[in-house]
Amino acid sequence: MKADPKGVLTGAHFLDGDHACCEGAISAGCRFVAGYPITPSTEVVERIATRFPSIGGMFIQMEDEIASSIAIQGAVWGGAKAMTVTSGPGFSLMMEHIGLAAMLETPCVFVDVQRGGPSTGLPTLPAQSDIMQARWGSHGDYEVIALCPNSPQECYELTIRAFNLAEEYRVPVMLMMDECVGHMTEKVVIPDAEKIELTERVYTTAEPGKYLPYLTEGGLVPPMAKAGAGHRFHVTGLTHDERGYPVMNADAQEKCVRRLVEKIRSNADKITIVEESETAAADIVVVSYGITSRVAVKAIEMAKTEGIKVGHLRLVTVWPFAEKRIRELAARVKAFVMPELNYGQLFFELQRAVGGKAGTYLIPHGGGTVHDPEVICRTIVDAAKEQPVKESQK
């Protein structure tokens, strides 16, 4: 299905990541946003508030993030494509409802424009320290998809992809931006509406009275229904059977929750997107995501002038983690170097996937600014020469 031209601002623009995210949502067909102001994400909803009235969208600033994160789900069940936008403290508040979205299988998008944490932290400065939270933040077993843009252009494109993945897998999708990408202004090209591919929500074709909300008939993703269409369905956050009715036993748990997990795990290869550069003959592979990848590119350039054979693996999806690709590379590279704007989060996934077959070097950074490319370069060089990594780089 193609985008509705009414919302699409075809052309070249000079936008920051927050604004580009708004345009991505509109191009994706999002017409309901509920949000709460929080730096550095507020501009997304401010632009939404300005754009929506003339394109038939509804924006409501709710009383808090808890309300926002469930209002979007009510809207989805009413037939909308919906999104909410926040940063660290708000993301924490939304965790229960991310779990609800996973359990009800509500397709929706959660944007986290990450800032320094924990707690109030550094509201106006970047970090990448909500990455584990995006995957594990809510209680219970579930899987989500998380995407990580490294430019305003990607903020636009990956927001559309986030909506598409949400519809395809009936899952909440996290768009993990950061303050740097969110507030950096760059050229953003928005194509013609007919060049934008959208994934349509699959609604049930069952006759009224015959619809079973969680019946998948061999597949992993059940067709949805919306309120008012005559299906008289019931859905609950309790562990449930195909009828949507609560069933409180281990058997039901296995049937209900395993599929939520398998939905994503068994499709991880299809979902995972990485961008590689010169990894084919590399001794060292730098693994990075988001704004850090821009710094990594510079560091790799510097390391190559010292004769190091270094490649770059940029994670565009951070969840599911690209473990298959990492495992393949681990079989032949000397080491992986991973700068993160945190004290080590996705690095542990890297180590797990590498399984000791190659070296793994973390370059942590608490956030507030981006890495110094020199530090990343030094680590690449030390890793290549198998020298111990200097303390200051840890």
């Binding site: 017409r31 309901f32 509920a34 009235p53 003339s54 038939g56 969208g57 509804m58 409501i60 709710m62 009383e63 808090d64 808890i66 309300a67 926002s68 469930i70 209002a71 979007i72 789900q73 009510g74 809207a75 989805v76 069940w77 009413g78 037939g79 909308a80 494509k81 919906a82 229960e96 409802h97 609800l100 009224p208 919306k226 309120a227 008012g228 269409a229 005559g230 299906h231 008289r232 369905f233 019931h234 859905v235 609950t236 956050g237 309790l238 009715y245 609560p246």
Partner: protein, 282 residues
């Protein structure tokens, strides 16, 4: 042909018998709700029920309507999104005193303030029944609860007053004894545009009733019968409930105010002119 219970066509009979205790008033409220919607001119497919967590929250699962059993305290913002995505839906939030006024309190006052077009049915049994009878913001002072074993020391909310002050356009209180008035009130509230609120005082014989020696369900109902007065139009400030005291019932507030969507559409049209088309759903 054997006659069938007139309530059953509105119930998921494959889930009956329900989980509620003997003498619990929830089933009575469901009978009233069903009779109320029967009397409305609204297609059943258009009615959506949203509930929170608790004994009252289980109502959603027994009704044969589009129904959503959401998270604790949050049916109102879910209902807000649902209604705004499809304003043609008639959205009813059916939840309990703790769910709506403790954890959910903030959402209640804002939806009332906005005059979101929805009906809130609050079954007030003065306890968190599902989890074993803890104190709630409506539990009267001195009442025993599992978390106030020596008696509650806090003054409770006066729900009609709170609803009134927050901006509700329809505020009523009944007990599960007042079935006829309750059916009528539910019908009025559901059909009324704007944020409507009905408090239904209901027995929890297993926990609140037992711990406070109020008798079984029937004795609690007989207490409601003997101790309630109906004063339609009464000042909501007078609706305070004392422990084992008089119960003021009635339709207290029934006024007009533009709803959230009325205001949105009117004001956006004024401010944006021709570039704005009235919002009728996504």
């Amino acid at each position: 042909m054997k006659p069938t219970n007139p309530t059953s066509q509105y119930l998921r009979m494959d889930r009956i018998p329900h989980i509620w205790c003997p003498g619990c008033g929830l089933g009575t409220t469901v009978n009233c709700f069903v009779r109320a919607i029967e009397g409305c001119d609204i297609p059943l497919d258009q009615i959506s029920v949203v509930s929170g967590i608790g004994c009252t929250g289980r109502v959603a699962g027994y009704l044969k309507l589009d129904s959503f059993h959401t998270t604790h305290g949050r049916p109102i913002p879910f209902a807000t999104g649902l209604k705004l995505a499809n304003p043609k839906l008639k959205v009813v939030v059916y939840s309990g005193d703790g769910d709506l006024f403790a954890i959910g309190g903030n959402h209640f006052i804002h939806a009332a303030r906005r005059n979101m077009d929805m009906t809130i049915i609050c079954v007030n049994n003065f306890t968190y029944g599902m989890t074993g009878g803890q104190v709630t913001p409506t539990t009267p002072i001195d009442a025993i609860a599992s978390t106030t074993p020596f008696g509650n020391i806090e003054d409770p909310f006066n729900l009609p007053y709170l609803a009134d002050c927050a901006g509700s356009v329809y505020v009523a209180r009944w007990t599960t004894f007042h079935v006829r008035q309750l059916i009528k009130s539910m019908k009025e509230a559901i059909q009324k545009k704007g944020f409507s609120f009905i408090e239904i005082i209901s027995p929890c014989p297993t926990l609140y009733g037992r711990r406070n020696r109020l008798g079984d369900g029937l004795e609690m109902m007989q207490f409601y019968k003997a101790n309630s007065t109906i004063q339609n139009g009464a000042d909501t400030r007078d609706a305070v409930l004392d422990f084992k005291g008089k119960i003021l019932c009635g339709k207290f507030v029934d006024r007009e105010r533009p709803t959230f969507l009325d205001l949105y559409n009117t004001k956006m049209a004024e401010r944006l002119g021709s570039s704005f088309k009235p919002y009728e759903g996504v």
